[in-house]
């Protein structure tokens, strides 16, 4: 085929994503290849024996069933908690509503290890909830004993995930055209009849979509099960993969288990994608229905709204606040009561001699910050060039988009496993190990950054680029002078996202890291494991602070953007 020079600007966009596609290929597929090859290759060569062995073993079968069971129950529980909230938010305006919506973003952004810690501090036997109840009712024994049990897992998943359903469903609900309901009333249907025959069926796609997302999260949940499950009795696939690989040294069967996990995750993602598409088709989106909002009319309604607000506050904010409060408490001697103290922060900053895992805390903090910075800096150009190519709307675009989202089909534990298998092969020094952590974090962050940049990129009309070209600017200059400046905000948000993800990343890091690697979440986990909760809280508070700063900065940056 003849090279036509007047296609030059198109060729520019075709060539641009190649480096990042290569990098992604290496970062994602090489570890996956290592994982899968150790699932199929035994010392005797290629065989299905490992796979067959894993799938026929009653122990692993039980784990698979349990994984599905806990995910189902967690999803149902989240729905149960979230739907009344979605109803209240969508139909009424009441005090605290904005705050609930704002707070519901928290579980999206806080790392799972923090959730675990907050849960222990808040709901634990010596936790704030028990202390309050004991003080209120003058009890001798803590009334709630839910830690390290099946209900604890479900409860933690619910707390972690119900805001997702609540905000997704309520925002869909709010934007739904209310005229259908009004029409139903005028046709003589009662309120209840209208709700069940009109509103609920219209909401169903949104509910199903949100629920499948939550199911996916619960299926791949790791930290919560690892800490709160408290043993082999409540083990899920992800935890089992980690246990087999890192505790029992059976990386082969871990890899075989991964295969099952990848399969289920892919099916769930495909399903979720199709529900999203159905969602986009099913309703015409109305800009806002704010006028239809009313205050709860009856006393009962008011009470319900109040109760829900208070409960949401308690459950979302309670654990987080407890972490912060607890980090400032210490008892001076073994028997005395806990008072305000900076002991843990002094230990953390090495101002005071620390014991156990606390002595690596400062190192962990600086490591985490450095890793997160590197991840943010490397991920954004990759995602940017990929989305530049995807935007071109050619056939290859959607393939490439799928390609960029691929890492989502594999849980972070499995990505960690892949990198662990690589590190076992190359046996590098400490620097190599840290590099692998950075690479694993990048793989996890890319789909999220891509999802931040791509929609913004798609908003840039072709005519901007065409204008610049016809005004005499070449493709590269057009990219640098027009596209890049317009994407500054999205790139910044993407970087923030990557940074926060990396700061809180626990699953992959724990799976791939040897004991010499310390990051903030890893040290937190070790502190929790050795029952030094206050120390973990101090680290957790710093993590919260970093995340908070980062998100406040990103919100401020958003405000300063060009409104287009």
């Amino acid at each position: 085929m003849r090279e036509d020079k007047n296609l030059q600007y198109k060729r520019f966009y075709r060539v641009m994503p190649l480096p990042s596609a290569m990098v992604l290929l290496l970062l994602f597929f090489v570890p996956l290849f290592f994982t899968l090859s150790s699932a199929f290759f035994t010392e005797q060569g290629f065989s299905f024996s490992r796979i067959a062995g894993v799938f026929t073993d009653p122990y692993t079968q039980r784990i698979m069933l349990f994984t599905l069971l806990q995910a189902t129950l967690s999803t149902l529980a989240s729905l149960l908690v979230a739907l009344p909230g979605a109803y209240l938010i969508a139909t009424y305006s009441f005090r605290g509503k904005r705050l609930i919506l704002a707070l519901s973003a928290i579980p999206f952004v806080i790392p799972s290890i923090l959730v675990v810690l907050g849960f222990v501090i808040f709901f634990g036997n010596n936790g704030f909830l028990n202390r309050i109840l004991m003080a209120l009712f003058e009890l001798e024994e803590p009334p709630l004993s839910i830690l390290y049990s099946f209900p604890a897992i479900i409860l933690a998943h619910t707390f972690y995930n119900f805001p997702i359903i609540m905000s997704l469903v309520s925002s869909y609900w709010e934007h739904m055209d209310g005229n259908c309901e009004t029409a139903s009333y005028t046709l003589g249907a009662t309120k209840a009849k209208t709700f069940f025959s009109i509103t609920l069926p219209r909401l169903l796609p949104a509910i199903i979509s949100a629920a499948s997302l939550v199911f996916l999260f619960c299926f791949n949940s790791f930290a919560i099960i690892l800490v709160l499950g408290g043993g082999p009795q409540y083990t899920t696939m992800e935890v089992e993969i980690y246990r087999q690989a890192r505790m029992l040294g059976q990386s082969g069967s871990a890899a075989a288990l991964s295969l099952f996990s990848i399969l289920v995750t892919s099916i769930l993602l495909l399903w979720y994608n199709s529900t999203q598409k159905r969602l986009a088709r099913s309703e015409t989106y109305r800009n806002s229905n704010r006028l239809n909002e009313k205050k709860p009319a009856t006393l009962f309604g008011k009470l319900l709204a109040l109760l829900y607000t208070v409960a949401s506050f308690l459950f979302i904010l309670g654990p987080i606040a407890s972490v912060v409060v607890r980090s400032f408490m210490a008892s001076s001697s073994r028997s005395s009561a806990e008072t305000f103290s900076l002991k843990w922060y002094r230990q953390l900053l090495s101002l005071e001699r620390a014991t156990g895992h606390m002595n690596s805390a400062l190192q962990a903090l600086s490591n985490s910050l450095l890793i997160a910075l590197l991840v943010a800096l490397c991920t954004v150009p990759l995602a940017l060039t990929l989305s530049a190519a995807i935007r071109r709307k050619e056939k290859k675009g959607s393939m490439l988009e799928l390609f960029g989202m691929l890492p989502m089909t594999v849980s972070s534990v499995i990505i960690g496993l892949g990198y662990y298998l690589i590190s076992a092969k190359i046996r590098g020094g400490l620097l190599t190990s840290y590099s692998l952590v950075v690479l694993a974090h990048m793989v996890i962050a890319i789909p999220f950054v891509l999802r931040t940049i791509l929609p913004e990129y798609r908003k840039i009309p072709d005519s901007y680029i065409h204008s610049s070209l016809t005004l005499g600017a070449g493709p590269l200059r057009t990219f640098l002078l027009i596209e890049l400046p317009l994407l500054r905000g999205a790139m910044f948000t993407g970087a923030i996202f990557a940074f926060a993800l990396s700061m809180g990343e626990f699953n992959a890091t724990l799976t791939l890291a040897n004991s010499s690697i310390v990051t903030l979440p890893i040290v937190m986990y070790r502190l929790i494991g050795s029952y030094n909760f206050q120390g973990a809280c101090a680290l957790g508070t710093i993590l919260i602070a970093v995340c908070a700063i980062v998100f406040i900065v990103s919100e401020l940056a958003k405000g300063g953007n060009h409104g287009r």
């Binding site: 036509d4 007047n6 600007y9 005519s463 070209l469 070449g474 060009h562």
Partner: protein
């Protein structure tokens, strides 16, 4: 250097249609491409600009073959339908953009921006952001920016379609004025007949990827080369040839027409303003002027248009539109149209008149 404007012959095929056009625009001329949506006029523009690949065909601008030159080296500026002002730049920065690329110095740049802004009647708008501008102002800035690149050819892609009617009229006068001041060769795409007729030196009518007719506004309107152009450029009446024996007012034994039933579908065409309307039976047409007379035409509707009434009549199942100066009193009227105002088409293509004008004309 031969400064002889643009001449192009473009061939391209796409999923749903094929484009095959050739035309030329003389140096300093303002030419309009007009056609219904989907006729390929925007595609033509993008092919000329180099935004779409040209596989077969020729593209010569001022004697230079640019068919395989990259977009940014063609020296063809384009104003887009949505103006495409860069939102992260002020008005000044937008206009400075092509100047910076051409490495115009700071002082000269400022001068030129001031001059261009005064040309488009936006003095003092330098520091404004594009979001703060109205649609008409954005249009002017886009035009100034395109002119700043000192293009050999200016392409305007439906530049006024997003504006309201009054502003549109005003701005098209402005565009014509600016064109006359700069003398830049311009190709203007529109779907609005009135716009094309009023602004263009020459009009190129396109339909389904082909040029239907090329010529001045008068030629296009008065001598449409085919039924498509005839009906697209303004209103008209299309009737089958077979009604002629019935309606012809034949005078003085002169055979006024030679009826040649050829192969194909014969039709006649005339404009509403050529139709005479009479309440009484007699038309104010002299008997010796050969004309068609439609008796007992039933008035279907009568719309007041300000300077005239637009009358739709039903005559033996055919709908005939006419313009008249008063509202008819009766329910039926007599319509007449002179032979010299009638154009004939065979299979949609214009043919030489078979209807002969009467003696004395």
């Amino acid at each position: 250097m031969a400064d002889n404007g643009l001449s192009c012959s473009l061939k391209a095929s796409y999923q749903d249609f094929n484009l095959d056009v050739s035309f030329s625009v003389k140096s300093g001329e303002l030419a309009c491409i007009i056609g219904p949506s989907g006729c390929g006029k925007s595609t033509t523009l993008q092919l000329i600009a180099g935004l779409l690949p040209l596989n077969t065909g020729q593209l010569v601008l001022n004697g230079r073959d640019i068919a395989h030159t990259s977009v940014h080296e063609r020296q063809i500026a384009m104003v887009f339908q949505d103006y495409a002002l860069f939102p992260h730049m002020s008005v000044e920065q937008n206009i400075a953009y092509p100047l910076k690329i051409r490495k115009v110095g700071r002082v000269k740049r400022k001068e030129k921006i001031t001059r261009l802004l005064s040309m488009v009647a936006l003095e003092g708008y330098q520091k404004r952001k594009s979001q703060e501008l109205s649609g008409g102002e954005r249009q002017r800035v886009a035009l100034a920016r395109a002119l700043a690149s000192e293009p050999k050819l200016l392409l305007l892609d439906e530049p006024l379609s997003a504006l309201d009617a009054k502003l549109r009229k005003h701005l098209r006068e402005e565009i014509r004025r600016i064109h006359d001041e700069t003398g830049i060769t311009t190709l203007y795409v529109t779907h609005d007949q009135e716009e094309a007729l009023s602004i263009a030196d020459r009009i190129i009518v396109m339909h389904e990827g082909r040029v239907m007719q090329e010529g001045t506004g008068e030629q296009i309107y008065n001598e449409p080369a085919n039924i498509f152009v005839a009906t697209f450029m303004g209103e008209g009446n299309t009737l089958p040839y077979s009604i002629i024996p019935k309606t012809l007012v034949n005078t003085g034994g002169v055979t006024p027409f030679v009826f040649k039933p050829k192969e194909g579908k014969h039709t006649i065409f005339f404009r509403p303003e050529e139709v005479l309307v009479q309440d009484n039976k007699n038309l104010p047409l002299a008997e010796y002027l050969v004309h068609l007379q439609f008796k007992q035409a039933e008035v279907v509707s009568c719309e007041f248009q300000g300077d005239h009434y637009r009358l739709v009549c039903n005559w033996e199942g055919y709908s005939i539109i006419s313009h008249c100066s008063h509202r008819p009193q009766a329910r039926t009227v007599t319509l007449g149209v002179r032979i010299k105002h009638i154009r004939e088409y065979v299979d949609g293509e214009s043919v030489k008149k078979t209807l002969l004008p009467s003696v004395g004309e």
